[in-house]
């Protein structure tokens, strides 16, 4: 596979752009692979890439039931940050941030990673205290964090509501300068291309319908394109984790819930950072095309339908206007929904399972996009070695039994409250 460079750009420009190859091979399934990864989203593709790149395991297939970029990797709001408080999360997401910083170079694909900075507004003295605690934890882990007072926030983002009539007056904010956004499709395409370049078969339109067992061990999968044998099977599907796990006889602490995202009509550059509203669950950023991208709460009841309801639409717009009254006349262009694997503690599961031959990467709740590279890195190590990497020891399935949960949202075992 030829490398992208300024010279390849010039060469193709001079020859009428007729020589570009497709970004990844259209592979047909072989009879068997060393590793089969179910799910061609960001996490599955990253896993395949790091299996080949870090561990030399190249006889790998990624099975995607739809097309690359059609699932949650194309349905998120592209925010990347590592401002976590709890042990296990803090280190993992910072490792992910470091991989983001080198991703375009590592993949030879511009993922348009933009470290524009993220701030979360605080709306009381107490909230600013808890943010200060978080900032201290981050800094003690070598992560950049700043606490801003009201005047500094005003200087940075003057378009927020600083008036006397603000619904929840802004007291300050926590700011992470290295946070930002990336082009989510490019992440999928970049990993797919780089993995394919290492010999990984990326098979689109191939839905896994069942598992093949030999005794107690899983030795392959049944798919809509026939039976595929596998030395090890990695499950990396967002939304349908429990549906597939159930076919393997595995019960999980997961509920599937719908999360919507929204984008306005494009406007001139207005929002330079990612801004999150501390008084509600709401955040926004501006895409390179000019649209303001919003995210908010879950719809909050079990759902496998990738479409939302208007109640959440209204709540999100209320929060948007409470934070930024000057966008009240903007029209919403689109909104869409993705299905989230919600776990009881809002932390993911990267784990060995009681089912021999089956490895699990799921339960990303609504935070999976920023974790893409670290999740792939660690899951690849798990699939290559059969051991749990140190970085994800906190994300094991056993934590719910032992009580070692990482409950970042502090919402207890009720998935719909996360």
């Amino acid at each position: 596979m030829s490398r992208y460079s300024v010279f390849s750009l010039l060469r193709h420009a001079a020859t009428g752009n007729r020589g570009w190859q497709r970004a990844w091979r259209a592979a047909s399934p072989k009879a068997s692979y060393d590793v089969v990864i179910i799910g061609g989203g960001g996490h599955g593709l990253a896993t395949a890439f790091y299996l080949a790149e870090n561990h030399g395991v190249r006889n790998v297939a990624v099975l995607e039931k739809g097309y690359i970029g059609g699932g949650n990797v194309g349905r998120n709001t592209t925010v990347i940050r590592s401002n976590y408080l709890l042990d296990g999360n803090t280190q993992f997401y910072e490792f992910s941030m470091k991989l983001w910083e080198g991703m375009s170079a590592a993949l030879n694909f511009n993922v348009m990673f933009s470290q524009r900075g993220q701030l979360v507004t605080a709306h009381s003295a107490d909230q600013l205290d808890t943010f200060t605690h978080r900032a201290n934890v981050m800094r003690s882990n070598g992560i950049d964090a700043e606490i801003l007072d009201r005047d500094s926030v005003r200087k940075l983002v003057p378009y927020l509501d600083f008036s006397d009539t603000a619904r929840f007056p802004i007291h300050g904010a926590i700011f992470q300068g290295r946070a930002g956004t990336a082009r989510h499709d490019a992440v999928a395409w970049g990993y797919a291309r780089a993995a394919s370049g290492h010999g990984v078969d990326i098979i689109e339109g191939c839905e896994v319908t069942d598992f093949v067992r030999q005794g107690d061990r899983i030795v392959g999968v049944e798919t809509t394109r026939g039976r595929i044998g596998a030395g090890r099977v990695g499950l990396a599907v967002a939304g349908h984790t429990s549906v597939l796990a159930q076919k393997a006889g595995l019960e999980l602490p997961i509920e599937s819930h719908l999360l919507q995202a929204f984008v306005t009509e494009p406007v001139k550059p207005l929002v330079d950072h990612v801004v999150a509203y501390g008084a509600d669950h709401f955040y926004l950023s501006q895409s390179d095309k000019g649209g303001l991208v919003f995210g908010g709460n879950l719809d909050g009841y079990n759902s496998y339908s990738q479409r939302g309801n208007t109640g959440v639409l209204r709540e999100v717009c209320e929060a948007a206007i409470a934070l930024m009254p000057n966008i009240s006349r903007l029209r919403l262009l689109r909104h869409w929904g993705g299905i989230m694997d919600m776990t009881p503690d809002a932390s993911p599961i990267i784990s060995l399972t009681p089912v021999d031959g089956l490895y699990l990467n799921g339960g990303w709740c609504y935070g999976g996009f920023k974790a893409t590279p670290a999740s792939g890195w660690c899951f690849a190590e798990m699939l290559a070695t059969g051991e749990t990497p140190a970085l994800v020891r906190g994300y094991g399935l056993g934590r719910f039994r032992s009580g070692h949960m990482i409950d970042e949202a502090g919402a207890g075992p009720f998935a719909w409250l996360q």
């Binding site: 429990s242 999980l252 997961i254 009841y301 079990n302 496998y304 719910f400 039994r401 075992p413 719909w416």
Partner: protein
Amino acid sequence: MLRIDCPCCGVRDHSEFRYGGDATAERPAHDNPDLDAWYHYVYVRANPKGLHREFWQHVLGCRQWLVVERDTVTHSIHSVSFSRRRRA
């Protein structure tokens, strides 16, 4: 927007209700010392793609807890009933 036919109040938007989760999880007896039973009750969910029995409370209406049978793919509601059990 889901429309839930409350047996007390009639058909209302689901924004009047609070979701209460899986109604099929069976709470172990109060003095049950079996850790596994409690683990399953608190954490493990069948999470079906299809018909789901779930609790909703009509917080902005009669405040009754209801059991709603709903399809998690199509959102069509098959039945609504009171969650309280009649005493024999």
